[in-house]
C-alpha cells in the first residue's frame, strides 16, 4: 500500500467569483475587454473591405447609444487593464537596480502609469492635430 494519496483541499467551483479571488478574475477578464475592442476594430475592417455602404452602416452602428454604452464598458476595462498592468509589471520583471539601489515597486508603478497617460494623451493630441489640418 504505497499509493500516494495527497490531501486535496476542497475548493468551491465558484471560488473565482468570491473574495479575495474576485479581484484576480476581474483583472484577468479586463484583458478579454481588450480583445473585444480588437473585435470592434476587426468588424470595421471587414465593413471597409465590403465597400462604402457597409462602412457607412458600421459608422451608423458606432453612433448608436448601445455602441456608446459598449465603448464605455470597454474603456473601463481598458483603464483597469492599464492600472493592473503596471501593478504587476514590477513583480514580474527582474529587479531594477539604479546606482546600487533597487528601484521600489511603488515608484516603477507610478512611472508606468505616468508613461501610459502621456502616451494616450499624446496620441489623442496628434490625432486631433492631424484631423484639424486643412
Amino acid at each position: 500500500m504505497s499509493e500516494r494519496r495527497p490531501y486535496r483541499r476542497a475548493q468551491a467551483p465558484d471560488w473565482w467569483a468570491r473574495k479575495p479571488y474576485l479581484a484576480y478574475t476581474i483583472r484577468e477578464l479586463s484583458g478579454v475587454g481588450v480583445a473585444l475592442y480588437g473585435l470592434v476594430l476587426l468588424v470595421g475592417l471587414i465593413a471597409l473591405r465590403h465597400g462604402p455602404e457597409s462602412f457607412a452602416a458600421y459608422r451608423a452602428m458606432l453612433a448608436t447609444p448601445l455602441s456608446l454604452l459598449l465603448h464605455l464598458v470597454l474603456l473601463a476595462a481598458m483603464l483597469w487593464h492599464v492600472v493592473t498592468w503596471f501593478q504587476t509589471m514590477p513583480k514580474t520583471m527582474p529587479k531594477l537596480i539604479v546606482g546600487g539601489v533597487q528601484v521600489p515597486q511603488q515608484r516603477m508603478m507610478r512611472i508606468g502609469w505616468a508613461v501610459a497617460a502621456a502616451c494616450s494623451v499624446l496620441l489623442l493630441v496628434c490625432l486631433v492635430h492631424v484631423g484639424g489640418r486643412p
Binding site: L41, R49, H71, V82, L127
Partner: protein, 124 residues
C-alpha cells in the same frame, strides 16, 4: 550511462511574448484608441466630420504604416485576451486544456489571419 535527453520545447514563451506585447500596447495607447474610435470619431467630437470617412480610413489602411498599426493593434489585442482567458478558464477548470487552447489561442490565430488577409485585400 544514457545519453542526455533534450528538454521538451515549449511554445509558451512565444505566446507570452504576444501576450506581453499586446498588453503593453493596450496599456500605452488603448484608452486613447477607444476614446478616439468609440467616442470622438462617431460623434465628430474634436475631429472634422470627414475624418472617419470611407475614403479617409481606406487611405489609412492602404498605407504601409496604417497596415502595420492595424495589424499590431487588432492581432496583439486578440493574443493578449486569449492568454488571459485561457489561464482564467484553466483556473476555473472550465474544460479540457486542448479545447480551451482552441477556444482561445485558436480563435486569436484565426482572427489574426483574417485581419492580415483583409489588410492585404484592401489594396496598397
Amino acid at each position: 550511462m544514457s545519453a542526455p535527453v533534450a528538454p521538451k520545447r515549449s511554445n509558451s514563451p512565444v505566446l507570452w511574448l504576444l501576450f506581453g506585447a499586446g498588453g503593453m500596447l493596450a496599456a500605452l495607447f488603448g484608452p486613447a484608441l477607444i476614446i478616439f474610435t468609440g467616442f470622438m470619431l462617431p460623434h465628430g467630437w474634436g475631429v472634422p466630420a470627414g475624418f472617419g470617412d470611407y475614403a479617409h480610413v481606406l487611405g489609412f489602411v492602404r498605407s504601409p504604416v496604417g497596415k502595420l498599426v492595424a495589424l499590431a493593434v487588432i492581432a496583439l489585442f486578440f493574443w493578449h485576451g486569449a492568454e488571459r482567458l485561457f489561464f482564467t478558464l484553466m483556473d476555473m477548470r472550465a474544460g479540457d486544456a486542448l479545447l480551451l487552447r482552441l477556444a482561445t489561442y485558436g480563435i486569436a490565430a484565426v482572427l489574426s489571419l483574417v485581419t492580415l488577409q483583409l489588410l492585404l485585400a484592401v489594396g496598397f
